[in-house]
Symmetry: C3
Subunit: 338 residues, 3 copies
Amino acid sequence: MESSPGNGHVTCGPLLGENDYVLTVGRTFGRSIRRADALCRRASRGLQIAPQIGLKRVPHAHRRSAMPDSSQFNTNRTCPGLWTVTFSNPPINIFAPTTIVELGALMTDLEADPSAKVVVFQSANPDFFIAHLDVSKAAERPEVLGLWRDFVLRVSSAPVVSIAKIRGRTRGIGNEFVLACDMRFAGRQSALFGNPELGVGLVPGGGALEWLPRLVGRSRALEIVLSGDDFDADIAERYGWVNRALDDYDLDSFVDALVRRLASFDREALAAAKAQINRFGMPTATELQSSNDLFFPTLAWPSAQARRAKLRDIGYGVPSDFELNFGRHLPALGRADA
Amino acid sequence: MESSPGNGHVTCGPLLGENDYVLTVGRTFGRSIRRADALCRRASRGLQIAPQIGLKRVPHAHRRSAMPDSSQFNTNRTCPGLWTVTFSNPPINIFAPTTIVELGALMTDLEADPSAKVVVFQSANPDFFIAHLDVSKAAERPEVLGLWRDFVLRVSSAPVVSIAKIRGRTRGIGNEFVLACDMRFAGRQSALFGNPELGVGLVPGGGALEWLPRLVGRSRALEIVLSGDDFDADIAERYGWVNRALDDYDLDSFVDALVRRLASFDREALAAAKAQINRFGMPTATELQSSNDLFFPTLAWPSAQARRAKLRDIGYGVPSDFELNFGRHLPALGRADA
Amino acid sequence: MESSPGNGHVTCGPLLGENDYVLTVGRTFGRSIRRADALCRRASRGLQIAPQIGLKRVPHAHRRSAMPDSSQFNTNRTCPGLWTVTFSNPPINIFAPTTIVELGALMTDLEADPSAKVVVFQSANPDFFIAHLDVSKAAERPEVLGLWRDFVLRVSSAPVVSIAKIRGRTRGIGNEFVLACDMRFAGRQSALFGNPELGVGLVPGGGALEWLPRLVGRSRALEIVLSGDDFDADIAERYGWVNRALDDYDLDSFVDALVRRLASFDREALAAAKAQINRFGMPTATELQSSNDLFFPTLAWPSAQARRAKLRDIGYGVPSDFELNFGRHLPALGRADA
């Protein structure tokens, strides 16, 4: 998406893709949300904006959000009504117990913003949207799965519309994260989805067993969960797992257009329509708790412990072929001599 | 589909596509349904029909139905077991309160016909299947939404199989109309679907919020309803919104073959199987009423009124670029200076 | 799939495709499941196997299972954790009352095997997976439909994962058989699906009316059941009726890889995850009984009897164009002079 001063076509900041420009309004930026709002609207209508208002490409590290960042989530609120939340937990965007705590705090802020209409979740890492849960750390803090269950219910029942823009791998709790979002759009060339728990002797505990059968039907849910394999964006679209697969090149502009469209509508109407649709296809707290309750005992199963013991030496949790191709490596964990 | 006297291949009238022929049996037509029936069967088996029985292309305006037309629905019953209902409310097939009243009367007649097996709904306007509800007129007659809710339940629970053959746009209550039909087949090049209510500050009140999550899943239902955008037939097929998208050229022959097939089966068996399937995926009256109840208060929301006030000057309800590309125009309605 | 001694890539027996090889371990075969297991694992990891261990192509008639065959189901258990069940009831794999009785016995054996993880169902006949129920014989033994309802519930709720690998036609109870399996993979060039009951004046009584609306939505379920037509694998995939359509050439290797993957995981984890997913999308016994109860009265409907009377002379139950293209022939059964 080409953007330059005066051509009137700007992304205006909410979607921090590599090629996005950030609207910087000199020293006034951050002082007057109202003014930034008007500029965004003007620019998005294709009108000229004053040449003294700069559009420059800002290196990611220098980008600033309108609120203090958590350590793993960078939140950008430069366009009114839109929150863009970029997850960054190097090196592979693993979910730790602290991630879940931070995500809960972020939801509290989001719920407290009466102007928020849409939140987009994206990743700073092109290879990993969310790697998976760090199971050993989670085992030490079992209370975070309760927080996670609450997050799933909060984001799916919030008046704010949530959209996952997915590049790279998203597995386990990562898949359960995007399932809890209202919509999912996936990069055809880069996105990979999976719930690999079965391959490490566990059972998904964070919502996959509740969301998937409703979205893709019983038989495809069984294939996804029991195989623990990786599935690409095209299959995910055919199965109804994501709304759509889009070429990676088009993903930003597609989601950007949808997000700005939603943000142009009334918050009350968005919230009312979402609440009506939520009468159908939403897991209940009891259902989610049921898989949550199942998860922790499986951690103690001897076979699961034996499988996980093998993970330590083959690249778990670090940039590695194992993490890139998790699904392919799973059957080896069950072999006596592996 | 080529048809001429003696070649034995006729559409036999139920599907009034532009290129269909109507079987006219001299002066006996209309006098003897039994005789027309036998001719249809003979012709549909590829047998010769007597040369004195003419097959001629009849201009639409001259086509006659076996029962008095309502003012907006032309009903053709020339083939036994089949009702073909063509909606025509120039210039853009808008749904007015009178449309809903007429549709209720049509259902009463259909329910009273013990020989009816299949009803096909189509449009006389190639650009619009059903434009949408005329919201201002509907606001003056709130009771019609109750009639509409009854129609939805009557058509979906009737022993007669209902099929929507869709060319052109069908939005709002138009989309809710086709969702209430048992099956939907859409022209790939011409059909467009959408529920634009969010874009005019409203919430769909006629069944979209109940049918869509069941057919396409929660996330795609949220995308369709919250974006208020137009979706083409291919996306509608991928989402499970319609049974199939077919090339416009093939749509008539495909639906025609299916309809004649269904009409060759026993009414009791069709009704019994439909009733069994209706145990699943059917909205209840209470669910439909819930969105109905939500709809009217939204009409009074100031923001919705402001959006609708802008509609008057930009081509609402008349042949216009606005009506052709409704979805594209919606975001502008929310701009302060639009 | 090429296999020869020493190249280390073997199918290892569970999937008896025409081009599969069977691992024969000299005289030890059958004596030591443990040893065969180790060889399978070794071969599946691409390791060399000793040259004295032969891999030879065994004519189908000579293949032996580890347990006594029933007369219609050949069960192969040469690979640990896997049961491969090949249905063979020449000439067209029709389901007779005895078939249902044998299938019940097979389930009893399967439920009693604590090492079983996966069962694959396939057909020995490339043209017919399962033709359909022999309706006249079933009418004489109404109790078998009760056994059938129990089979549906047993296979779908078993801890063992069931997979249908479908080549050729599968209609009526055949379609209801594959619907009861946990997953369905279909050969793109050969598979055909349908519930033709409506065309012979009946209503599906063995689960189609319960599984289909849940998997494909109400409207596509109505199309499938009410039309009684044949649907190919591509449509079945688009509708969500099968997990995937695969080229016939790739079907064996795809299912083989999935099955060995599943068998490498823990039985407890597979069973626990399946049970959780089974909270959604499973018919209840009461629902299944409801269609079962509907089925028998329809047998006595005069119109259904008239349709079925015509079946006798046109190739029902024998290799014939009628059985190959059942769907196409159905409308003719309703014609007075057919």
